[in-house]
């Protein structure tokens, strides 16, 4: 009809499409296992690409070459990370902080500030579609988000106050822990809920969604809500302290602790990040820890990389990429740990 309406409908359709791939990619990867051969082939190639791209900028600053080589190098790296994030089923932030923090000369404060904005932008982009498809549940997210976003403020303040080497060590240890969670955590498509807990019943946390694979509507409810709320304190603190998206922790808590179906857990986790990371991002912004020259190319690079990643995924399903991502995280986590300990400067 009118142009504004056409634009609105286009944006809505785009948002739903974005959410669909974001969710389906995550679901696809979450179930994947091995094929280590691809890991051995791809990991060295990708590692070399990342290090070489970072080296472009390093050389630029050392030799007085044009300043724009730096954001260009960052754009290339984040573009690759965007592809990997989609194929590996992880958030961009969790890859961004250890890799950019480990191989670029930016201070970790600015990297974490940019990392939060990367995770926030991805979550904001996916949020509308996930909510409209009833996969992300606002009712489930709101109480958890209140706890996590409050804790993320504390985490951000701690992270900015701690000495850099301590943050590096803690970041390295956390990334290695994430690797263990990614490699070993079990998932449950439809967890058994014997009895929803009284808090979730009082809050009316329940829902229904269309399960296409079964061709029917699935009703869901949750239990152990108080325990999950406690866990979200820790998740929020870590998200704020390290500037990581926290999907790697959100999903297991929603799925395995609370018993939400896997689809609901993945989608609600993604949406939750838009609230958790917003509160932490404000702290970094107000403390002067956001540099547009780092943040904006990273956001655009990761988003464009994600789009390419989806196209690759539509043609092939390189499942071993999950192990490439795990390998990269292990590499970057070890680098952060050793950098913090002063062993690998």
């Amino acid at each position: 009809m009118s142009f504004p309406r056409d634009v609105f409908e286009f944006l809505t359709a785009a948002s739903v499409a974005h959410a669909r791939w974001d969710y389906e990619v995550s679901m696809n990867i979450v179930r994947n296992r091995r094929k280590l051969l691809m890991l051995f082939i791809l990991l060295p190639i990708l590692s070399v690409m990342l290090v070489e791209a970072a080296e472009i900028g390093r050389t630029a600053s050392a030799s007085g070459k044009p300043w724009w080589l730096w954001p260009l190098a960052l754009f290339i790296v984040t573009f690759v990370l965007g592809i990997l994030a989609v194929l590996g089923g992880v958030g961009g932030g969790v890859l961004f902080v250890p890799i950019v923090g480990g191989f670029f000369p930016f201070h970790l404060d600015f990297v974490r500030g940019a990392g939060l904005l990367v995770a926030l932008s991805g979550a904001l982009a996916a949020g509308p579609g996930l909510l409209k498809r009833n996969l992300a549940s606002l009712r489930l997210a709101m109480p958890l988000a209140l706890i996590a976003s409050s804790a993320a403020i504390v985490g951000a303040m701690i992270g900015l106050a701690l000495p850099t080497n301590i943050v590096q060590i803690l970041l390295g240890a956390t990334i290695i822990f994430i690797v263990i969670v990614m490699a070993s955590a079990k998932k449950s498509d439809f967890p058994d809920i014997a009895q929803p807990d009284s808090l979730s019943q009082t809050l009316g946390i329940m829902g229904i969604y269309r399960e296409e694979s079964l061709g029917k509507d699935v009703e869901w409810s949750v239990h152990r809500t108080p325990q999950a709320l406690v866990l979200f304190i820790f998740i929020g603190i870590m998200a704020g302290m390290f500037g990581l998206g926290a999907g790697w922790a959100n999903v297991p808590v929603l799925n395995l602790v609370m018993g939400a179906p896997l689809k609901i857990s993945v989608a609600t986790s993604k949406f939750l990040l838009s609230i958790t990371d917003a509160s932490a991002a404000w702290i970094y912004l107000n403390e002067g820890a956001v540099l547009p020259i780092i943040a904006v190319p990273s956001i655009v690079g990761i988003m464009l990389g994600s789009i390419v990643g989806v196209k690759i995924l539509a043609k092939a399903r390189p499942r071993a990429i999950k192990w490439v991502v795990i390998g990269l995280l292990l590499f970057a986590g070890s680098r952060a740990l050793l950098k913090g300990l002063g062993i690998w400067e």
Partner: protein, 137 residues
Amino acid sequence: MVEGRIAEEQAAYANILNIGMYLGLLALIVTFMVYVSGMLQSFVPVEELPKYWGMKAKDYVHALNAPTGWRWVAMIGKGDYLNFIGIAFLAGLTILCYLAILPILIRKKDTSYVVIAVFEVIVLLLAASGILKAGGH
């Protein structure tokens, strides 16, 4: 698709997030292009940034007397701080979404979620206010 079953407040939240997210990303890209094109003078010239971006944020602020909190608003005429319009908009979008669903929750007499939404707005406003500062050095 089960859009028909979506709660009213969830649909309202999604619609505002949808429009706001695109506006924020558009602002981010446009202001960054203005920044790197050099159309506006920057507070820190881009050529000089490599001298400073290896510093801890606190040291960067001290070395350049860079604005903290909301003092950047007074500097949006500078190319680098112009970018903060999009960044702050994206970071503040969640507050707008919560404020939009509050009347719906109140009308539905959903008291517990009204309380949760009010507290969430307070938490986000507190974070955005700049009152909370990281201590230590």
